[in-house]
Symmetry: C3
């Protein structure tokens, strides 16, 4: 397979400046908005039931994150997702903390059953839980899982008819037919709150400009993680890393994205 | 007109350390609090209906922002604003996202009709919508508007009997009699989430120490934007810019504010 | 008294990576999570009534903060605290803004009366209010108090059978038998929003790995404030300070914590 050209997608994000509607958690809501903004798109965070449908209706992608879910917030997510489904824009669900409490499991499945989720995203144990595997989850950090991520991701992708992303040291992106791995990123990302949520926002942002959702997800992750690699070079710890991450994202050139990305297709090459 | 001396107002903020009560959005709530704090005042964020009146009662200004509004939050805003009106402290309303959804329009007008708003603040398309103009809004970023900002701002100021602020590359501040422009700031402000919300907080902070609300708004904007200009000098992107913005705000000398501000009165000079 | 060895506790935090469950305010929720993360533990923020008990049940400490309380949120805190009490994990209550409104006073006492709070934490005027003293509070910043902190803290510790922490230029930590002062920290901490809330999170994090709660609280505060001292060396203001604080916390060596801490026992030496 020739190396993917993801710089094109980054250019599209900056040219089209898609509105990316989020209903997300209260911890990293700023970071989700800001990473979308610095990459050149237009974030909007709106969770009121009374405007969720309207806002999704003017957006080009919808990102849902259950990090600090309440039943009320899930209701808004369902309203927004129905509006997004109707309009035909992609819906990303970050199953943040799935496996940690019964509420998170129940509500994740409720979302998956009531609306069309186009991209499911989580860490290894979260996605494994959604795929029906037995896992030990520890709060919102990844627990241990037996099966390999590619198997779990593609199994779930087939079952749900969607794209599945498992983040980790190496990310896995699968749809029914293909599995990509993204080998970009830096270990310091695991020592800052918010990198996982921002990854979901980037997936949504790239899905707003590219219909091949597995490709969009891989490209969004790669661009984000390349920015992280660049930021880590001069960072002295997780604080300065995070600020430099925004700088690097803002300054990332399409050509650099093309050169630095490590996206590989590991099964059924059909691109 | 002799050049305005806004350094005096900055000194007053630091000496009086006014309590600035906010009911704001969940995205930039930290940034709103922190910009008020680093400029030397005392932010307090409190949105429970059960304490909104009490908190406004111990404050010197109230800042309302509908960025992530819900009907419940608007109820709290009304309670707080009534308490502020009774006490005679200024109320700033940031009509964040007006024009984007019906809820935002409806609730903005509800606030304007039920309580006295002393300063309305928004970007060009948001304020135009509140002024009854037709506009194309795109999420929370500014859409295009036909009339010029000075006309819209002063028209709305006269209609509502208040001060109106339109932010943008050049800010416009109008009351019934005067129109000021503030030509400070830096383009990078448009690439970071939160600068608009922080601007409203600064307007509230300066309004807490100066009864001439148009002057207070112009001075608050100018001080904030001068700090942004200083911060931009050494920033390598939006991440390092934002941290340096807090440094520059904290370190801003009244004399520098006097020297660097570009506040001009463009109509009916009566100062 | 030989100098305390708090580096051991810092090591334990990093080895055990305890899950620290928070129900906190919307202003500093990110900072609370991130300071816990960079020190090596695992923060989880979850406030839904429907999962508060489950989440506290998988945690090693619970941190409650009433900074942006609502009656609903207090209900969740009670549910989480009951679960924590049952499991025997420590519960920290940051009485943020106590004294500022009637709601805050009433709800603080409701929490203290309905569940077992193991560590009460606040600034001088907040804790004085909880101890029944008359105080002038100004928003969420400390007002003036007559009695000295050691008296107030130990009085309240005896009355409530818990550990009491009063933060300030010099922190006071008291239980029934002992009073410690922590003389670490830097004046710039008072010019950034969130340092008080983060201090409560650090107390909770260290209480997750050490049963002597007064010692845990003193060690958590000292480690946090030593990181602040280190961060302040190269900071040019509150913005760069805050980022460097995360770097310094992440990079803090147990040996440095032992060398730099200024924890002193000022009464009834029984360690």
């Amino acid at each position: 397979m020739a190396k993917l050209r993801i710089g094109e997608l980054l250019k599209k994000v900056r040219e089209q400046k898609p509105v990316v509607h989020h209903i997300t958690n209260w911890v990293t809501i700023y970071d989700c908005a800001n990473i979308v903004k610095v990459f050149g798109a237009s974030p909007v965070m709106a969770h009121a039931k009374e405007e969720a449908a309207d806002m999704a209706g003017i957006a080009s992608a919808l990102v849902l994150n259950i990090g600090t879910l309440t039943p009320d917030l899930i209701e808004s997510m369902i309203i927004a997702a129905k509006s997004a489904n109707k309009k035909g824009i992609p819906v990303v669900l970050d199953v943040c903390g799935a496996g940690a409490t019964r509420l998170r499991d129940r509500k994740s499945f409720e979302l998956l059953n009531k609306v069309k989720i186009n991209i499911i995203k989580g860490n290894a144990s979260e996605v494994a839980r959604i795929a029906g595997e037995k896992v030990a989850t520890k709060g919102v950090d990844a627990g241990s899982v037996k099966k390999n991520p590619a198997q779990i991701a593609q199994g779930l992708a087939k079952k749900r008819g969607c794209t599945v992303v498992i983040t980790g040291k190496e990310d896995t992106v699968a749809d029914k037919k293909r599995v990509f791995t993204v080998r970009n990123g830096h270990s310091i990302m695991g020592h800052v709150v918010g990198t996982g949520c921002m990854a979901a926002s980037m997936i949504g942002t790239f899905a707003a400009v590219e219909k091949d959702l597995a490709l969009a997800a891989a490209a969004g992750l790669a661009c984000f993680e390349i920015a992280a690699e660049i930021a880590a070079r001069k960072a002295e710890g997780p604080g300065t890393f995070k600020e430099r991450l925004y700088d690097a994202a803002f300054n990332l050139k399409p050509r650099t994205a093309d050169e630095m990305h490590k996206i590989f297709q590991i099964a059924n090459c059909k691109l």
